[in-house]
Symmetry: D2
Subunit: 293 residues, 4 copies
């Protein structure tokens, strides 16, 4: 396919590279052009603007930091809303709000284009290895058309709904689930540590028995070692995602007391000097501090 690709961060770079490897023709755009050089070496064309990257494309994939960045590349002065051809598809792979997904759905529809939300599950290494999981939602004909994109970047695609924002809701909710694991481990470790048990031995026991999932191993390890820097995922981003979950829930009138607890934890962490830049698992330190340890 002839594709535009916007956003060459840690995740986007690997995804774009896999699209090229799969034989697609890519025009890439990134705020800082250097990152694109290696892709150009693989055969990509460097676009000076998002608008240019989307011109003549069957689809444009975006993988940018947040709502604001996404609004800029779509609606901004050099955004691609005006250049993406009729009938072409905007595939948004970022973790964004439900509200912006709804806004984009409408805007692309008005421009006779399609919007597909396709947030991905996996870290940069999975992106590089084309092992992402894709949670996609949008109009069936659009989903069908961009299936080759999903095939090139991921190991499995879940088709969730014909309403694009549903996929964003699922992605946000899964980040809420991860943060919940962190909070529960933080409280459990605060308790057993004050009871005289070594956190490392405790996490070893948990992850060898009932809690063998990677999420427990990853975060259990960080919490036991109290190693929160450099961040794998910064607290400020964790706080943002919890906020987006709560906003989506508020729109739907869904009370989420555990998410509310997480919100308060993240704010307490952000209120500490340097807290925003720590790994989001650093909210676990609050349960320990509250217990006087």
């Amino acid at each position: 396919m002839k594709l535009g690709f916007v956003g060459l961060g840690q995740m986007g770079f690997g995804m774009a590279a896999n699209l090229i490897k799969a034989g697609h023709e890519l025009s890439v755009y990134n705020r800082t052009a250097e990152k694109a050089a290696k892709l150009v070496a693989l055969g990509a064309r460097l676009s000076p603007t998002p608008a240019d990257a989307a011109r003549g494309a069957e689809a444009v994939v975006t993988m940018v930091a947040d709502d604001k960045a996404l609004e800029a590349v779509v609606f901004g002065p050099s955004g691609f809303l005006s250049t993406l051809p009729h009938g072409a598809v905007h595939v948004s792979a970022s973790t964004i709000s439900v509200a912006i997904a709804e806004k984009l759905t409408e805007a692309h529809h008005s421009a006779s284009q399609y919007f597909v939300a396709a947030p991905v599950f996996g870290r940069p290494d999975a992106a590089a290895a084309a092992k992402l999981y894709v949670a996609a939602a949008g109009a069936p004909e659009a989903l069908a058309r961009v299936q080759p994109i999903f095939a090139a970047i991921g190991q499995r695609t879940f088709l969730l709904s014909d309403q694009p924002s549903a996929a964003n809701l699922v992605k946000l909710s899964s980040n809420f689930l991860i943060a919940s694991v962190i909070e529960s481990l933080g409280e459990a470790v605060a308790l057993v540590a004050k009871g005289g048990i070594e956190p490392e031995a405790y996490i070893e026991l948990l992850t060898s028995t009932l809690f063998g999932a990677p999420v427990y191993k990853t975060y259990g390890g960080l919490i036991a070692e109290q190693k929160f820097s450099p961040p794998g995922f910064a607290a400020i981003l964790g706080q943002k995602d919890v906020r987006l979950v709560l906003e989506a829930a508020e729109t739907l009138n869904v009370p989420l007391p555990l998410a509310s607890l997480l919100r308060d934890r993240f704010l307490a962490l952000l209120a500490q000097p340097g807290g925003a830049a720590l790994d989001w698992s650093a909210i676990s330190t609050l349960a320990r501090r509250d217990s006087g340890q």
Copy 2:
């Protein structure tokens, strides 16, 4: 070894059978004697009282319902505190409170006996298959002596501390972690379901990606299907364990806001007609109800 075994419920029966298979000599006691018949066929001796089961034993293993049942078989009129030989070991495999573990440690010490806490991880099928995990704590010489018991009932033993109650704290905390998973899934499903996503598809996505652990598969499935009866683990028992976690935490001055949330969820479930007898994962219905679904 010459062993007493007290408590032949779903878990205890399998454990006792495996001890016999491993060549140990067992005197078994159960409140209702019929359950013991099959073990007698395997070679066990039926004891009329806990006191009798412990007489002359190197160790007595207890696997009973709760603190109260354990107090009865140890301190009651036909309890074994007075008959367990000097130097012999009481191995408690039940999920009990930290407070009762501390009381037993002292009582057995005063009687020149040992108390080892060895709560187990696993369900009845794991007990039958000798695949339990054992979290043990107690005096090193006592732990060494009962090692053959652990070897016969489980696939791996974790030695946690020389203070027996530490093992009970670990066991209780892990039940807290499971309940936390249930609550987080309950809230997430309430959110995405109100957003138009099928719970089954959502759970399938989660457990195929980041949340592959059995605990997510088991409880995610129950929550998606809303199948809470018959219970695998009744809400009334879940509430009891959360209470024991909170009591242990209170003694140590450890605030646990997520456990407090769970406490309130379980009480709300118990306040409903029939709620106590549902599976503990039925607390997930409360997030859905609160969202008007």
Copy 3:
């Protein structure tokens, strides 16, 4: 003073009438002009637009429903940002967000005007009787200039800060305090009622002893009688104010667990058919429902 007045709801009408009685010259604007007729009879001039009401005024007072309404009358096509004279003061008496107060401070400053936030405490009868309390914040010279306005509408003015939004923060926080009283009474009544005590007798005891403040009498009475319709202050507005408190707190990185609990309560109420239109004290029904009553 020559004044504009925008927003003639239950509160605004009384305030405007008192300003006329105090001898000020008023140009009034309301979305629905009928409401203004009685004020015209008292000597007010009816303005067709907010812009017109502010033309030539020394100050314009706004008493509108929410942020959106306020933005419309200031920034909209017929808003008064362009007509309020240099050096004149916009006095905002509404309960609005901290964010919009900051936006208005900047916009009026850029237009060589002043912005004073002066939210009021009291209900419509207090507004009619000129018995409001005024919590004012803004540039000292502006506060000094509008002092006659405060004198005409209220019984006491508190000067809080030279930063206008501080007054809005105070007003929002006091609504949080009222909602906290409602929640605490809701839980207490759920408890004692299930313990066999008549809610009416309980509230009578509380308000005769330690809790004699009007807020306990008003809401205690509504909760005991379970009389939530017609609303004195609708749940949808309570939810909005709790949201504004949480948003202000989030900007400042201040965790507010009790406000988070209130947020969840209001969403649960709004999720019920008809819940949004009940009095905000109807969140108290949730504690009772959760206890199975």
Copy 4:
């Protein structure tokens, strides 16, 4: 009446003195006898044991620290269960648990005596001035008989139920309400202080307007000044009362999320060095600390 009086602390002393002034004949007991000297000067008889104080009495009033102290004076070796005459009344004015009230109801009934729970509202100065409020519950004939006692110590009596423990539940719930006020003020002050407002000015505004009740003045003042020592009511006692509320609620299956929050606050305070001895309003410092102030 011929009365026994047990427990001459700050509260009990004033109550006993007022009973003497009202013409009753008192036998008083206190753990440390010196405290009784002044009462003896007023005409009281000093008893060497609780048992002795109750001998021949029509009623015995207890005003002791907690459940444990009360159990000791009733059931202990020199307790009065065995000496209080048939048909006589034990009036318990202390803040005790619902569970112990139920135990005492049964024990006194078995001994052909009456148990009346009559916890009092007010501080030592109100006790000295006979201005207490009495919340009484018990068998109507017993309540009628001890009416002169209530008349002598308080300004008003509320008859709540024929089940004594109901009065204890009411008393505990009112302490929960006070602690809720403290928490709400703590959060509100954390918010406005970080927003640049002086806590003193804020409290002055609140207590001059909507929140004029003594509870807001007392605790608002302490929180604004951050004056938590010496304690008016120590944090360790506040934690105990919140625990008793939660226990009573658990027995009745009543979830109390705000009480759960208070529980966690008190434990966090107790986990700090010296925290237990501070005034219970010191839980307000936690909201400020969590906000990075």
